[in-house]
Assembly symmetry: C2
């Protein structure tokens, strides 16, 4: 019975979405010292008007990773995004109408690169500060909480924080990002020493412009050195 059921789906359309599994994406951004998440407002169905994580169906011939990239690109028009699977969320009653398992992904994007896609307006898609998240549809608050926990762990293992910053940044910006994600205060002197000691940052021939205080050195992230360090294994505790 199971395989004849399958055949009827496959016969209909090889590219049709699978009907029991969805993708949901937690998209993090960092703006003016705050960690934010991109939420979308549902326009139809039982959840009309409520906010939730952007997501969608998986096509028959694409991997779940590809599906997540496609959905993200449809929403933000961004390519080459840092994207990783969180895990599958499979409570039997998470979706009220029928049994649907969702696979959670989380993405880190540079806010300077981001533009809301044509088709979305400010009323459909909006950045929410991480501690001002409203009630979301289904189990999306749970998915978001899990991704927050995961981000806090990940950020201590690998320098993924850079994915949230512009190409050029100052050491203090980087430190404030870590403070915001981890929810702790840091000592700038110790942070400088530690991060510079890792040799992952390349100082640029540029300084901050138009600030009402001493202009800070700008740095960029050196992904070549990162790759070498990753092979040897390193850790990133703060």
């Amino acid at each position: 019975m199971v395989s004849s059921l399958h055949n009827s789906i496959a016969a209909k359309n090889d590219y049709s979405a699978m009907n029991a599994v969805t993708i949901d994406c937690v998209i993090f951004g960092f703006d003016k010292g705050s960690l934010e998440v991109l939420l979308v407002q549902h326009a139809e169905g039982i959840s009309k008007g409520k906010w939730g994580l952007p997501g969608g169906w998986i096509n028959k011939r694409e991997s779940t990773d590809d599906a997540a990239h496609r959905l993200l690109n449809e929403l933000t028009a961004l390519d080459q995004i840092y994207l990783e699977q969180l895990k599958a969320f499979g409570n039997p009653d998470r979706f009220p109408l029928r049994r649907v398992i969702t696979i959670g992904y989380y993405a880190l994007i540079k806010r300077e690169d981001y533009n809301i896609k044509a088709g979305f307006t400010a009323s459909d898609a909006k950045w929410y500060k991480i501690n001002e998240i409203p009630d979301l549809i289904y189990d999306h608050n749970e998915i978001l909480a899990y991704s927050m926990k995961h981000l806090r762990n990940r950020v201590r293992q690998a320098p993924i924080g850079f994915e949230l910053l512009p190409e050029k940044f100052t050491l203090l910006q980087l430190m404030h990002l870590y403070e915001e994600i981890l929810g702790i205060e840091m000592d700038k002197s110790n942070f400088r020493r530690k991060i510079l000691h890792m040799k992952l940052l390349v100082p640029l021939d540029e300084k901050q412009q138009d600030v009402s205080h001493r202009a800070a050195q700008l740095y960029k992230f050196d992904s070549e050195i990162y790759t070498k360090l990753t092979e040897k294994g390193f850790n990133f505790e703060f």
Copy 2:
């Protein structure tokens, strides 16, 4: 179309397995200094005779976590097992006959508690040393490799290694477990100091019996202290 398809499934049997998602479990054990994985031999279908990870279907009314526990219990007759989701594996061609996504889980069990379930014999279910794994069905080698990587990371963050050892163990046994999982050599003197300093171990009024060398102190793991430490946050680097 999607929802009418769904209704026909639900009408048939509320407890029927979902047909597009499976569970696969990587079950780790530790025996005589070697890290091992429990594999099962497939008795029918296109993969007859080949070895693979134990797994199965998800019932309509159980969560994916519950499904994993049920499958594990059916295989090993063990309850109360350390079990965690790895992630979903969703390549479109991972299963040759049709599109099936699988959710990987990994479990750590105490070999002393384990008995192969009635219905399974030594030829159906077998422990394989971690570096003697044969070619497995589908993408199971990939799932196993991923779980190995995950275990190496996890073991550095939390004392889950204890799940693989008997109730009572010696410090050297514990150290050898870490050495085996992480693939490194350690200094016993430094290991002792470090692990005892964490206060996670409780010395028992017992020593090893019948060994041809000085009998070692036996310890047990104190889960109460672990809980307290977890709340405060601690790390477990070696």
